[in-house]
Amino acid sequence: MGKPQNITLKEAAGLIQDGQQITFGGFTIWRRPMAFVYELIRQGKRNLHLLEVNGGTHSEILIGAGCVSIWESCWSGHELYGKLGEMVADRHVNGGMIVEDYSHGHMVARILAGAYGLPFFPSAQSLGTDLLNPEFDSLGRAGLRDGSHPKIPRKKYEFAPDPFYDRGELLLLPAANPDWAIFYASQVGEEGTVRVNVQTYADSEVIKAADKVIVLAEEIVPESYLRLEPEKNIAAGYAINYLIKLPWAAHPTGSQGFYDVDADFIRTFYRASKSQETFDRWADEWIFDIPDHERYLQKLGIGRLENIRANPVLGYSTRQKRGTR
């Protein structure tokens, strides 16, 4: 396998084919590979099957831009900065995208099964809910569970008995092995060793579960530095296929140790996401009218970036005003 191949953002986004299944690293509004999402949109990708442990600002933008035809996850929104995932909501209510709902624990089980090369993972979480209502199996209703789609399991879930301790039935959740994981990393070594700061979310599992992995690195650092504390690293270089060095690549989502969530940016996007028309205007301004990541940063401006820059000891911004006091 060897080391990851260095590549540009444009080249990397060009590798994703219409119709493929993709997933992302990060959590809600944290460590999302936003620069990559913008570039996917610029390149006009269509019919992506987005399967993710949870959604967030990145999903809303990608879905709003019409790139996604199937979304499997458990949640979309912007945390405090816009509670509803308006674009997921719009597609669910008005059509245009298949929404397949699982719980968070189910999605983690699916990615973990994929990471471990298992066909399923057991769970007793969320029994008795409408997540399990057979009438609400959206991919099944769409006729996509016939075994001819290699990334879509024949069933949404299965009940399994306990042959060992008579504990009764629990769920088996189908593995997820997306074609691509696109991943934002805090630091990557010269040979591809990956570190993420603070909470690790489902990041190590996402990398393993995907067939191929593209990493956007906030910074490239000496391998020997990362290898002094290997407890803090989540993947070796051989697990990564392509590597892009791109500072601020997670903006407006937060990257612990580098920058906080750009709350105002997300709030503004959230308001724009309440109709397709305002979304489209927002997308013109922040995606289509901007040729690349460097111009995006220029447009944001140094003041905005400095405001969210993390205090290096605490890992978060001590400048951004958060409340009323």
Binding site: F27, T28, I29, W30, V53, C74, W75, S76, E79, L80, L84, G85, V88, A89, D90, H92, V93, V99, D101, S103, H104, G105, H106, V108, A109, S123, A124, Q125, S126, L127, G128, T129, D130, L131, L132, N133, P134, E135, R141, F159, G168, E169, L170, N197, V198, Q199, T200, Y201, A202, S204, G254, G257, V261, A310, L314, Y316, R322, G323, T324, R325
Partner: protein, 270 residues
């Protein structure tokens, strides 16, 4: 800390303050608490500062027993992790901690709740043709289904307290046994995986609990409201036969902790 009723008259408090305080009082010392963003964070921190110093907080994104210097605004926030015992990820929190059985108490929220404590955060109307899509389940049903006790924090509105929710996102006391879908008691669905369930619902007007059949009843009414007020903001006929009286209001100490220590930036308590 003894709650001091006599101090009440001397200061004012907001409905949010009372919600936070009432939720905090649900924490028992030593509880391992699984908590989401917002009011629940205020509640667990207030409990840790008062009667439950040995309670411990797990945030879904990966931090276990953090001791934040500054109030987090998301469970994914680096602020959660400061001086935590363990930093990990979702597999650890959802399976290594929650499924494993460590979690005593969960604080959760919802858009709709019904008289059995079933909560909806997914859709209004028919799932296959919804009137409105909400955020989706997140970890709400997982945490609720495996914590020994769950407390929901809700806005008291007629459209939110319903006879039956449109979609059972998180399981209350009377839920559906799949694949058939018949409604049965939670115990019957969970079997050996049953550990407990929804213990209380705290709204801006009252505290609710559940009887032996898993039906919601009114427990205490917040100061300034009557039983009739609560019934008027509830979409189903409420069992008011067990009302214990008034919800204990916040003490000055609790208010001071909330505004001067826990949320001193005025994020959730402006």
């Amino acid at each position: 800390m003894a709650l001091n009723k006599l101090s009440v008259a001397a200061y004012s408090y907001s409905p949010m303050d009372l919600l936070a305080v009432a939720a905090a009082r649900e924490v028992r010392d030593g509880d391992i608490v699984f908590t989401g963003t917002g009011l629940p964070m205020l509640a667990i921190m207030l409990a840790q500062h008062t009667h439950a110093p040995n309670s411990v907080c797990i945030y879904e994104a990966g931090s276990i027993d953090g001791r934040p210097l500054d109030l987090p605004t998301s469970v994914g926030d680096a602020r959660c992790a400061y001086q935590s015992a363990v930093i990990s990820g979702l597999t650890e929190t959802l399976y290594g901690q929650l499924h494993c059985g460590y979690v005593d108490l969960a604080f959760l929220g919802g858009a709709e709740i019904d008289k059995y404590g079933n909560v909806n955060t997914t859709v209004l109307g028919d799932y296959n043709n919804p009137l409105k899509r909400l955020t989706g389940s997140g970890g709400n049903p997982d945490v609720n289904s495996q914590a020994r006790r769950t407390v929901y924090i809700m806005v008291q509105e007629k459209r939110r307290f319903k006879e039956q929710v449109d979609y059972i996102t998180a399981p209350g006391w009377r839920i559906r046994k799949w694949p058939g879908g018949e409604y049965v008691h939670r115990r019957e669905v969970y079997g050996k995986y049953f550990r407990g369930g929804v213990e209380a619902v705290i709204s801006n007007m009252a505290v609710f609990r559940f009887d032996e059949e898993g039906v919601m009843y009114l427990d205490t009414v917040h100061p300034g409201f009557t039983v009739a007020d609560v019934q008027a903001h509830c979409g189903f006929e409420l069992n008011v036969s067990r009302v214990k009286g008034e919800t204990l209001p916040p003490t000055q100490e609790e208010i001071d902790l909330l505004y001067q220590v826990i949320d001193r930036e005025g994020i959730f308590l402006p």
